[in-house]
Amino acid sequence: MSSTTAPSSSVAAGSADASGARRNSKRPKYSRFTQQELPACKPILTPGWVISAFILVSIVFIPIGVAALFASRDVVEIVKRYDTDCIPLSERNDKVKYIQSPGNKTCTRNITVTKHMKKPIYVYYQLDNFYQNHRRYVKSRNDAQLRSNGSSDDVSGCSPEDYSNGLVIVPCGLIAWSLFNDTYNFSRNNQQLSVNKRGISWKSDREHKFGKNVYPRNFQNGTLIGGAHLDDSIPLSDQEDLIVWMRTAALPTFRKLYGKIEQDLQENDVIEVTLENNYNTYSFNGKKKLVLSTTSWLGGKNDFLGIAYLTVGGFCLFLAMAFTLVYLVKPRQLGDPSYLSWNRTPGCH
């Protein structure tokens, strides 16, 4: 603080003649700072300012809202819920039992493309009611272990998925253990649509958080199998499904990137999805959805931002007009002293 006080030489010079006579005078030295006379702008909410602020907001917000809304409308998004559909009718009474029983759970669904979709088309899976943000879950990982081979024995924080059969699990912890393991295969007119699974994770994760020389070890070998198995021969930095999964979601409903289809899809194309329905969301009544979506410059399909911008912009426009009207109908000489009265019970505070 005191550094700003700055009893600078210029100030001292100003009062030098005064203090010259009395050397050790206690007279406070003059500076605009200590006398609280710093140059300042003192904004007050005059009608002009209020109205211009409202107009400014609406002028900026309405175009942004329109643009955002257009961007969102341009995005083509197809959502297919399959968690119930992919269980045979006979098994639907006890979905948990079905999903936990061994055996092939392949299921085929058809998706009709509603609108022309330009590549790249992003494939997501969406889980619902899945608390990846639960504190126990979020903490159940060990970043050091994921990063370097040297600390592969470090499993602190991973309990209970830290050791299996007395051996260290790599990657340890609940997050890795519960890795999503449904798989999708797409075909159009019996022609395989290839899904590119490279580059779906954040670059920083791949390069800095997951080691190139860290290989899965003793993974999913316990009594209780959580989710997907990992290929022991591929280093973690290349296991992009894992990397995506381990970037935990913030909210209990979330999508994660599964891959990219690098082809355009035409309107009314029928896509056949062959999926393996392995992942257990039935225990906690979670939905599973498959999402195909393009993106715009603003991202995926969500009208909210556009509408919100338009609403606020419009509201401000309305307020600007309302205030203008008020000032026109009931103009007031600013600082009219008739407002300057003081009574013990101020009417409106």
Binding site: M1, T5, R22, S25, K26, R27, P28, L38, P39, P43, I44, L45, V50, F61, I64, A68, Y122, Y124, Q126, Y131, Q132, N133, H134, R136, V138, D143, S159, P160, L174, W177, S178, W202, K203, H208, G226, A250, P252, T253, R255, L257, S283, F284, N285, S293, T295, S296, G299, G300, F304, L305, A308, V312, C316, L334, G335, L340, S341, W342, P346, H349
Partner: protein, 1201 residues
């Protein structure tokens, strides 16, 4: 050694004072000596003997510091953790080392350590200052007997009980001393007890007969004595002991005790024995530890913190209950539901089978998580801000007093904002309102008014009439050149009289008599400076001195007084030369408060007997001869004029006596004087009464009890600001009333309610009944008077008639008793001004407490003497006047200023600003913490209340310390709603503080609500906008990291911009801190994100890689920012338009540039004035009204009975 003449003079002084000494005899109470409570034994002149050492009396070292080196740590820690908030954070800190903690231990402990460290640092600095003061006092030197009759200097702190010390003129006594001898033969000495009771007159002390001969240093060679006395106690006015010399015992009384911190005056030196040292001395025993004062705002802050605690606990309970329920569902019928959490193999914290315990443990976690509701840095920020505010107060040039070289000094920074809320000022008079010097300024002789001097009041009124806007210059006197007269106590300018010109006036004979009377009729004693020949006077009261000085300056120099005569150098009208005349002094008819006059009877050198009388107009005019007086009317007129100008008037008259008349009188007078019965005084009065009649009027004098510069101005401003001013003075009622007039607290036409226990009926009782009955009767009388006045007040409550209450000390004692005090207070509050006279220091404190407790308003006490200490400590704020004498008041004050007039700036400018700053700052603090805390809570709800924080650990812990602290401190230090000039121009603005509109509950809750709104906007808009879809072109979705960073960015923007929106004063510092805070966040995010992932964890590269390239991120920030501020903005705009607060109106006026339009400002100020106020504006207005209406309005007379 002074010559014999001086001694003679002293004896005379004694006679004039008519002081009778107590007989040296043992009283009943002396038999207590040796018993319990009276066990102290002092071996005089032998402090080192083994017997003395075994008694183990403490040294003379004094310590006023709060801590010692050893006790600092535990004691200051204890102080720190008396604050609930700090205990809470300590517990959080400890718990953060357990797995319960939602975030890392370091991020919890670091802020706490910083906060406590800063506060303790402040304590150290403050205590160090006290230490330095102690060192100064303890190292003062005094001469002490070292044995063999040798005296040498010793430091005060090394003084021992029993030591013989020699104290010289104008030195302070280092400890409580037993007076042994002085330079006077009869062992008297004069003591000034200014520091003890604030009385400026000298007290006489006298040594025992037996020790009188110890006048030489060598005589202490073989002196031995043993004093036995009472144990140390706090009673200043009692002392019981006995002195054993040889085989004899001699009684000791307070008459022999010289108290520490009083001063030796008019005596070359005294010898004394140390009886009480250091903390045993009466004055220190008497001083209570200064109560640590806390401002109202701070107390309310505590309440708010409790409220927040309640909110915190509530939210935690909600969270825990939900968490318990969710956890218990994790295993349903033996099957895991949320299997990915492995509820089958878990610790106690998440065990679904023991969900109850898990919930309880989670409660602790939640308490830690939501700790952001409690602003940890609030207290420390407030303290930093207050210290800086104090620096501004100390540095204010407008409050620097040139003459005494004293700037204002805020001794504690706790009360800055309290200065903006003062409701009642309780002021001492002498030395506070007045300079305690009297100046002869005008006189009226033979019906002609002389004297062109201008009083402070007249100056103020004149200024107001002519140039209504010039007063913004504050109390600065524009005409310093004119005021300074060379002679103290004399400010009489009129060339018709001065330099002997009076002989050419119409009635030189009367003028001569007038001046002669001034020179003769008094009890002053001349003191001739041998070198210069200048004569100065020692008088009982300063106004008497002023008369004698005036007479001297006008050519009637009084230069000698003997037992029986008074000698003057006076101008002979015939020869034009100065001649010496001696008047034979026959009788002095003394002044008393009931008589209100004094007379002398002298025989002049022509042999004529003259009765010279001076007295108050009320008693003098009735005693004038009916037929021989020509100028009564004119003189009366002049007297009224003078009184209205705030001057003390005195009417002078004389009569020639014939010898018979005199001898008759003298006989009766002597007889009465020799009476021993209780009726003696009355008889004397009767005799005096008889001779003081048929007087011939000479004229009247007007003495200005010199007000300090700018006092009327200041009082007027304070009155306009709606602050009530009570004067509590030890002075006589007449004096107090005069000063009341002088500083416009009273004015002609104001109804005065005088409550007086010297009412005739009470006096009558006194003679007949016993003491308790008298008391009861007096009390009944006082109660009756109060009740009557109250009834009058109720009656007149409709008409804006200004009332003044004047009450004397004795009545006050009754009025302050439990059964009467409510009624008294009701009455006092209804009056525009209240003057309590003849009040003791204790009563001052009691009145202060009464006002403080009963009205609930903030009280400010201002005083300069030690008699004001109790009042200063009792009041919410104590202001000490520094500068002239005695530091006692300053030492126990909270803020010291050099002059009363600085109060105006201190309160109206600094007080208002500080109040405003602190209250806005605190409101903002709650806002920002709620805005932040609620986002955490909302996130919790989306994370099944598991205790997961939405943000990275270090975002969390740096929120309060880094990203938001500097702007709020800048707000607390620099914000100004209106400039100092406008604060002073519109004093009513001050009422915002008194009525506490800026820190009312509605406002606080409003800000809290605004915080919740902001949090809601931030969280839900972020969540809805970012939801599940890709948030950028590359198809990536928002994870935990990105959502946290985005929300946090939004919070930082919102709270900083809210700050920008709500402050009124943008200097470069505000710009730097507000925008700097935001920019700093981005820089931090970059730097922190660039660190190794082990350190940065979830913040790793989050900005560079994920957020910054996404348009969505920026759009969301912008949208959330605007939408969160919109509610506040709309509210402000509407409020500003439809019901602006007072400061906003002034801002508007300033904005329109109309603040420089004098006509306009005058109009505004007139409008904003409330009626029924005091001050010269009110006086001026009233006189204007009289002129306009030109109809006689009720003129209330002074109701003296």
């Amino acid at each position: 050694m002074a010559g014999g003449g001086k001694k003679k003079r002293r004896h005379l002084f004694k006679r004039v004072h008519d002081s009778s000494f107590r007989q040296e005899s043992f009283q009943d109470e002396h038999f207590l000596i040796g018993g319990p409570g009276f066990s102290r034994i002092v071996f005089c002149n032998d402090p080192d003997c083994p017997d003395a050492a075994s008694l183990g009396y403490g040294g003379n070292y004094i310590r006023s510091t709060k801590y010692t080196l050893a006790s600092f740590l535990p004691k200051s820690m204890f102080e720190q953790f008396r604050r609930v908030a700090n205990v809470y954070f300590l517990i959080c800190g400890l718990l953060s080392f357990t797995p319960l903690s939602p975030y890392s231990a370091a991020s919890t402990v670091v802020p706490l350590v910083v906060v406590i460290g800063i506060t303790m640092g402040k304590e150290i600095i403050e205590d160090w200052r006290r230490k330095k003061q102690d060192i100064e006092v303890n190292n003062r030197k005094v001469k002490v007997h070292k044995g063999d009759g040798v005296f040498d200097y010793t430091k005060w702190r090394d003084l021992k009980v029993g030591a013989v010390v020699k104290v010289e003129k104008d030195e302070f006594f280092p400890a409580d001393l037993l007076l042994l001898s002085s330079t006077y033969d009869d062992g008297i000495c004069y003591v000034e007890t200014m520091n003890l009771d604030g009385e400026t007159n000298l007290k006489l002390k006298q040594a025992l007969q037996v020790t009188l001969n110890l006048t030489e240093e060598s005589s202490f060679k073989d002196f031995k004595a043993i004093a036995r006395c009472e144990d140390p106690n706090a009673n200043l006015y009692s002392f019981i002991g006995s002195l054993n010399i040889g085989q004899e015992n001699y009684p000791l009384t307070p008459q022999q005790l010289l108290l520490r911190d009083s001063k030796l005056r008019n005596t070359e030196y005294v010898y004394g024995v140390v009886i009480f040292t250091g903390h045993d001395t009466k004055v220190i025993q008497n001083s209570t530890a200064p109560p640590s004062k806390r401002s109202k705002i701070e107390r309310r802050v505590d309440k708010i913190v409790y409220l927040l605690f309640a909110g915190l606990v509530l939210l935690s309970v909600i969270g825990s209950v939900f968490f318990g329920i969710w956890t218990s569902y994790d295993i349903e019928g033996g099957a895991m539901t949320r299997w990915y959490l492995r509820p089958d193999d878990t610790t106690i914290y998440y065990n679904p089978k023991k969900a109850g315990i898990a919930a309880i443990l989670h409660f602790l976690t939640a308490l830690m998580l939501y700790s952001y509701f409690i602003p940890i840095s609030l207290y420390v920020s407030i303290e930093i801000v207050k210290v800086l505010q104090s620096v501004f107060i100390n540095q204010d040039q407008e409050m620097y007093h040139e003459e005494t070289d004293q700037p204002a000094r805020a001794r504690t920074s706790n009360l800055n904002e309290e200065l903006g809320q003062v409701d009642t000022i309780l002021s001492d008079k002498t030395g506070t309102l007045t300079c305690n010097s009297m100046e002869f300024i005008k006189c009226s002789v033979a019906g002609i008014a002389y004297g062109r001097g201008v009083t402070e009041v007249e100056r103020a009124i004149a200024r107001r009439k002519d140039t209504p806007l010039e007063e913004e210059k504050g109390g600065e006197v524009e005409d310093l050149t004119e005021a300074k007269s060379s002679v103290k106590g004399y400010n009489f300018i009129d060339e018709r009289i001065t330099d002997g010109n009076w002989v050419n006036e119409a009635r030189p004979d009367l003028i001569q008599k007038f001046l002669r009377l001034l020179a003769i009729c008094h009890t002053a004693i001349p003191e001739v400076d041998e070198e210069t020949g200048r004569i100065s006077y020692e008088a009982e009261s300063p106004d008497e001195a002023a008369f004698v000085i005036a007479a001297r300056e006008l050519g009637f120099q009084f230069f000698e007084r003997t037992q029986t005569s008074i000698s003057l150098h006076e101008l002979d009208t015939l020869t034009g030369k100065t001649v010496e005349r001696t008047y034979k002094l026959l009788n002095v008819l003394e002044f008393s408060s009931t008589r209100k006059r004094m007379s002398v009877i002298v025989r002049n050198d022509e042999g004529k007997l003259l009765l010279l009388t001076k007295g108050a107009d009320s008693v003098m005019f009735v005693r004038l001869s009916r037929d021989r007086n020509e100028f009564v009317e004119q003189t009366k007129e002049h007297v009224n004029e003078y009184a209205d100008g705030g001057l003390r008037t005195m009417v002078l008259a004389y009569r020639e006596l014939n010898d018979d008349e005199y001898s008759e009188f003298n006989e009766a007078f002597t007889a009465a004087k020799n009476m021993v019965t209780g009726e003696r005084d009355e008889l004397i009065e009767d005799v005096e009464e008889k001779i003081e009649r048929d007087l011939i009027l000479l004229g009247a004098t007007a003495v200005e009890d010199k007000l300090q510069t700018g006092v009327p101005d200041c009082i007027d401003k304070l009155a306009q600001a709606g602050i009530k001013l009570w004067v509590l003075t030890g002075d006589k009622m007449e004096t107090a009333i005069n000063i009341g007039f002088a500083c416009s607290l009273l004015r002609q036409g104001m109804k005065q309610i005088i409550i007086n226990s010297e009412a005739p009926e009470a006096k009558a009782m006194e003679k007949t009944e016993d003491k308790s009955a008298t008391d009861a009767a007096a009390k009944a009388s006082v109660l009756h008077q109060i009740a009557e006045a109250k009834a009058f007040l109720d009656e007149s409550s409709e008409s804006p008639e200004a009332l003044a209450l004047i009450i004397d000390g004795k009545s006050l004692a009754y009025a302050l008793e439990d059964d009467a005090k409510n009624m008294f207070l009701d009455l006092a509050i209804g009056c525009a001004s209240v003057i309590c006279c003849r009040s003791s220091p204790k009563q001052k404190a009691l009145v202060t407490r009464l006002v403080k407790v009963r009205t609930g308003g903030t009280t400010l006490a201002i005083g300069d003497g030690a008699n004001d200490v109790g009042m200063l400590q009792e009041a919410d704020i104590g202001i000490g006047i520094s500068g002239y004498e005695g530091m006692q008041a300053v030492m126990s004050s909270d803020i010291a200023v050099a002059q009363f007039r600085f109060l105006e700036r201190l309160l109206l400018v600094h007080g208002h600003w500080c109040y405003r700053r602190i209250s806005s700052m605190i409101c903002y603090f709650f806002y920002k913490n709620l805005a932040f805390g609620f986002t955490l809570f909302y996130f919790e709800a989306y994370a099944s209340f598991s205790g997961q924080a939405a943000y990275n650990d270090w975002y969390l812990s740096l929120y309060n310390v880094f990203f938001t602290s500097l702007p709020v401190i800048a707000l607390g230090v620099f914000d100004q709603d209106v400039s100092a000039k406008l604060c002073l121009r519109f004093p009513l603005l001050y009422q915002e503080g008194v009525q506490n509109v800026l820190f009312s509950w509605s406002r606080i809750l409003g800000w809290a609500f605004n915080g919740v709104v902001a949090a809601t906007c931030v969280f839900f808009f972020c969540v809805r906008a970012l939801e599940t879809q890709a948030f950028r072109k590359g198809g990536e979705v928002v994870g935990f990291q990105v959502l946290g960073a985005t929300m946090y960015t939004c919070v930082i923007w919102v709270v900083n911009c809210q700050m920008a929106l709500s402050i009124n004063y943008f200097t470069y510092i505000q710009h730097l801190f507000i925008w700097g805070g935001v920019i700093f966040w981005y820089i931090f995010l970059l730097a922190y994100g660039a660190m190794d992932p082990d350190v940065s964890t979830t913040a790793y590269m989050v900005f560079v890689e994920a957020c910054a390239p996404a348009v969505m991120f920026w759009f969301v920030t912008a949208f959330v920012l605007v939408s969160s501020l919109l509610p506040y903005f709309i509210y402000s705009a509407i409020q500003m338009r439809f019901c602006p607060m007072y400061h906003q109106m002034i801002q508007w006026i300033r904005n329109d540039g109309q603040s420089d339009d004098p006509e306009y400002c005058k109009m505004v100020r007139q409008r904003s004035l409330r009626p029924n106020t005091v001050g010269f504006s009110a006086r001026f207005r009233q006189s204007m009204r009289f002129e306009e209406n030109s109809e006689p309005t009720l003129q209330f007379e002074r109701t003296e009975e």
